[in-house]
Amino acid sequence: MIEVRGLTKRYHEVRAVDSLDFTVRRGEVTGFLGPNGAGKSTTMRMILGLDAPTSGTATIDGRPAAAHPAPLRAVGALLDAGALLPSRSARHHLLALAAGNGIPRRRVQEVLDVVGLGSAARRAAGTYSLGMKQRLGIAAALLGDPPVLVLDEPLNGLDPEGIVWMRRLLRGLAAEGRAVMVSSHLMNEVERTVDHLVVIGRGRLIADTSMAAFIAAHSSPREVVVRSPRAEVFASRLAAEGAAVRRGDDAQSLVVTGLTAPVVGALAAARGIELHELAPRRPSLEHAFMELTQDSAEYAATAGTGADKETF
């Protein structure tokens, strides 16, 4: 379990992390979200004892990371997958880390096999692809078979197969009763992997809740997408029933708010209007996240490249 209490980090005048309080529980994957520069990596570094907090505390199973007798057995971390000496082999990289905590050599081969790098173990780490480096970073995190994992953007650079593998790995680790804290900007993936969410913006906590509750609380009203060759006619009919209707992606498509999909379908049937599509829009984490963090995104791009704000 990770407990963060009043955690603050100030760089000169900037509060990169500002009085954070949250808990990462065992048996769950906790997603740690926030826009670029929100303070996620800084928070993780303080949890691991790499950076000293300006104030506040972060403990792992009741004590600071550095106070554990064999830290790799208490918490495994992947902060920066590129942190490798290019000429050193993956195996030697892990052997050195393992040796420092008295972890037996055979464990190195085990974790290399777990991440699928067994056959590349003797290659210089500098020759690894980004995805292979991420896997090596995961291997390092698993060395001590720790009950707590802290992973900063572990999905970066993974191919589709790697992403599926990572999802199953994280779920598996949580299922074994470990506390898994993972940051990511890939909302669709987070939505499929994570049980609990901690969202920060400009260093401050803005949500600490279950995934389902988060989406429910921060999604716009339910929308239904309808496509019909007689969209114009149907639109006025729907409006007459009290729905809010706007144009969708093309002339035949409508986005309806205020009526459920069955009601929309029944209306179409009653009027003999042909439908080509009738789909309730699933509320997504991506949408909920953007709505919530709009105001706290520090480095948001300004509109104007023509990209639609709705990116389903």
Partner: protein, 283 residues
């Protein structure tokens, strides 16, 4: 890719993960082992060791041959202070730079490649990490130092003998002091590199600093304003420490062991600063 680690979900109450306290404790010995693996798997280590040996032996042979050839033409006063020991061990001038570079790299390579992050995640005990680095480095540098000084001594003395100039035996107490004390000097140079590397974190800055400290200041010391030049000629730590590899004793300079003591003191002060800085700094 492998799925071996992926388990099915099971209820939390079933979990049998041991707590961290129930398993082993990481010690200084573990860190020594870790740092030894890192030193030996750093590509530069091999190059530095070879370079040090080649520089040590090469300079000794060249110096021995040329100084030996000139000996016969020297004035009697100069012949009286001819130093076959120091001549054969001149290789330490280059060896100190390569070993100081190795000392620097032991820490600057970690900052350069950011491996300092996994290193300190595994062992957040900063002093333990730096002490283990220092200990492993010192042993390696001493071993390379002894080999370099012995090989240099042999090459230099045989070059002198070949030129018909005076030469000395390894069994002379003075020779033993210069060879093994010289290896200590090289060890201190490596630790100096480690201390400076820890303080400045950049390989380039460390190399520059080491060049200036070990070669440039001793060479251009006489160009300094009067009293400063006099002080530097006697007390500048690398100059003072360098007395350990000479045979001829200049009464104006420090004796070999006190001279090495000055260097050791200076290295101790810088290492202390390095420890204090390393302990406080964010990774």
């Amino acid at each position: 890719m492998s799925d071996t680690s992926v388990t099915t979900r099971r209820p939390l109450a079933d979990r049998t993960l041991p707590g961290p306290q129930e398993r082993g404790r990481a010690t200084f010995l573990h860190s020594l082992h870790a740092e030894w693996i890192k030193l030996r798997t750093m590509r530069s280590t091999l190059w530095v060791a070879l370079g040090t040996l080649v520089a040590g032996v090469g300079l000794a042979a060249l110096n021995g041959a040329s100084a030996g050839g000139e000996h016969a033409t020297l004035a009697p006063a100069d012949q009286a202070v001819f130093d076959p020991l120091g001549t054969a061990l001149k290789g330490y001038m280059l060896a100190q730079v390569t070993l100081a570079l190795l000392g620097g790299l032991v820490i600057t390579a970690e900052y350069g490649s950011r491996t300092i992050v996994p290193t300190l995640t595994a062992v957040p005990h900063r002093s333990r990490v730096l002490a283990a680095k220092g200990a492993v480095l010192a042993v390696a540098a001493y071993a390379v130092g002894v080999a370099t000084m012995l090989a240099g001594f042999a090459a230099g003395q045989s070059a002198l003998a070949g030129a018909g100039a005076p030469h000395v035996q390894l069994s002379d107490p003075e020779s033993l002091r210069a060879v093994f004390g010289g290896a200590l000097y090289l060890t201190l140079a490596a630790l100096l590199g480690l201390a400076v590397g820890t303080l400045v974190r950049s390989t380039t800055a460390t190399v520059t600093t080491m060049f200036a400290t070990l070669l440039i200041v001793p060479a251009f010391g006489p160009a300094l304003p009067g009293p400063l030049a006099d002080w530097a000629a006697v007390y500048w730590p690398p100059t003072a420490g360098g007395q350990i590899v000479t045979g001829y004793r200049d009464p104006a300079l420090l004796d070999p062991w006190p001279g090495l003591g000055v260097l050791a003191l200076c290295v101790a002060v810088l290492l202390t600063a390095a420890f204090l800085t390393f302990r406080r700094r964010d990774a």
